[in-house]
Symmetry: C2
Subunit: 477 residues, 2 copies
Amino acid sequence: MKLYEQVATTLKDRIDLGYYHEGDKLPSVRGLSQEHGVSISTVQEAYGLLMDDGIIESRPKSGYYVLKHQAPPELPATSNPAPQPLVVAQWQKLQHMINEYGSTATTKLSLALPDTQASTLKPLTRLMSELSRNAATRVLEYEHAAGSDALRHQIARVMVDSGCRINPEEIIITSGCQEALSCSLRAVTEPGDIVVVDSPSFFGSVQAIKINGVKALEIPTSPETGISLEALEMAFEQWPIKACLLTPTNNNPLGYSMPDKNKLRLLELLNHYDIPLIEDDVYGDLSYTLPRPRTIKSFDTQGRVILCSSFSKSIAPGIRVGWIAPGHHREHIMMVKYLSSLSTPKLTQMAVAEFIAQGYYEKHLRRVRRDYQRDRDAVIGWLKRELPEGTRISYPQGGYLLWVELPDQIDSNELNQQAKQEGISIAPGTLFSASGKYKNFMRICCVNSADPALEKAIKTLGRLCKEMLTRNLLSQD
Amino acid sequence: MKLYEQVATTLKDRIDLGYYHEGDKLPSVRGLSQEHGVSISTVQEAYGLLMDDGIIESRPKSGYYVLKHQAPPELPATSNPAPQPLVVAQWQKLQHMINEYGSTATTKLSLALPDTQASTLKPLTRLMSELSRNAATRVLEYEHAAGSDALRHQIARVMVDSGCRINPEEIIITSGCQEALSCSLRAVTEPGDIVVVDSPSFFGSVQAIKINGVKALEIPTSPETGISLEALEMAFEQWPIKACLLTPTNNNPLGYSMPDKNKLRLLELLNHYDIPLIEDDVYGDLSYTLPRPRTIKSFDTQGRVILCSSFSKSIAPGIRVGWIAPGHHREHIMMVKYLSSLSTPKLTQMAVAEFIAQGYYEKHLRRVRRDYQRDRDAVIGWLKRELPEGTRISYPQGGYLLWVELPDQIDSNELNQQAKQEGISIAPGTLFSASGKYKNFMRICCVNSADPALEKAIKTLGRLCKEMLTRNLLSQD
């Protein structure tokens, strides 16, 4: 450990132990330098590190302070989905969502879009430009069907941070996490099978289940600890479950990360009932705290867990670079991937491999983790202020999505229609259910709170909600 | 029509009418200039055009000659596949093929790889480099799920050459033709259904059928005119066919293009029996003669034909840019595509759109069409010379693939094993059948005959075949 890291660790320990509280002023640089007998610049570096980690902030001409986080909001209750497998509905709603990608809504809160303007991404486009020029012929050739060796090597390195030791040769590169999930599902299920999902659940997973002719069994899910293990065990006893598809870390849309002991217990259950897990870890690297939470894959010794991830949320979605660590399902999944799209485009694979190898990915993560935590706090503050009483909000520990429970009387599909006329789009809650539940919920993306348009959009949503409540009240009279 | 084009047309007519035969010397530039009363440079441009079209050649210090084509070889017989729907086998063999993409075989004849070193592709990598630099943020964002508007516009333009009038808004961009085929198949079939294919048939299609749980009904196919329409009509009468999947133009592997009257008759049958057609046109733009053959899609007035194509063969495979013109199946196919991979990477879409818009695609096609025709002639000549008596070879009018029927006693899987030890790979015939037929056939890619390695590889294959025949003869004694 370097000297400045030692100093930073000491300070962090003191904050954790409660010597300094949120909003407290920290010792001056000079004072700390004398206390520890280190140089001024070492203390400055230590403070820099703590700022990167979102623990402290610097206030101009005043000094360093322990960062104040938004007090946790009132969370939505644990969900209570239908206790039997369902054919997924909501197809029509998804078509609206597909059109969102090309929509002209000025403030698009509907899609899970990361910050693609971060300066820490500049090296990536520079690398893409250089590789196009200097490795032109290689860029044009087919890539190995499983993906670039260099990239698989770098991904194996990155996965160490989540506790995984994966042989790069196991990894299969895909066109984003959606292809990873879709291929994994196709490999382990057949039409008519039942797959367990959390509830609410990412619409891309739920609908991929539908399109495979598979039924979804939704399990009650807590916004703090994730899927109910008791309910899951009962489901395993009662139904011929073929696979589980879960997002246990920085869940979309609920924001929870399952505690390690729950992850371990889940794995025990899977082992006992001999059921594979498709683990969606696409938001895993965006955890606000370091080290990032472990994946269930990292505890798996049987090759039972199929980890699906991508750089769409942690770098940029337009590059479409995802991957699968397929465990003992590799052969079948590789075949499905090959027959789905042969191989993944080459240039972006080469560029991402270099981006990681040269240390830019880590640097970028440091920046966006801090930014997204600030965005979360800012947007939760505005939601508390602007939305009607009774609104509940998730409190994610990573990523940039909020799951918002509005008062019962509000239909978020209607809210979305009205918001669109003011240039704003949200993701209505019903999309996250197999059966059209969560009518009064919405998912919003809270990236870039520095842009005044975001606060304005939340104000507009608040006004629209209150108008809807008033209308409903009047119509009841 | 420009003046030099008029002169070229006149010359071409004379060649077509038989005034000049293959190998004949053509009039001198000066002579022609006087005859037509046009400038020297106009005649030179006219000759240049005829060279581009692969009709004449220039011999240094001698003049221009009508290009000699290899006399058509003896063609394989019309195929005779099993007359009932089959569950596709050959899974194991395909795994070998998947590994080919990353294989170190020095002469890879197994994969259908275009010439990615052509100088006419330089503008593409230049565009990719420029866009990465100058449109960095846009490159990183999600593309519209259906694909880039600019690219869809350019594709609609290109499709006019095959007789199609398509609204750009109909088109769905995919990750190569394999994703186009896979999504189309998933949209129009369900497990247990029967799909008609030609025979031999591209292994990527046949195996995509398998992985969807669908059965393949293979129809006898002629190497000159394609699928037997009589056999097809009988099949339509006898079986509940759910769809047809065919490559009617520059077929892979057989090389035929169905005559227009057969294409029209096929469409009549499809209309009569109300069956959709998935038309794989991935080699269509590589026809040696202009105008390129029409697609069946171009005759379709009912939105029955789902056209699948890509730039993987006509530009480069590593960019993975394909598309679907889905007819009235658009809504369902769009959903499948979205759930398979959300959207297609953005940079390559932007670059290909510019490549076409700026006229580079047409220029590139002119060049590779000529090159591939030369390659075909050269490789057929070597095959005739080197392979055992009784070998039959396809005679494609476009693309760069040859389908070779070896003497009965030769097992091309064994040949491939032996060839690999000498750094050569071929595609064994059994891959192109649902049931392991075509044991004594192989498909080879004949790009870049100027590279001495290709002729050397054909010599090696010839030697290995002859050794196998001798061994078989001895073992029979």
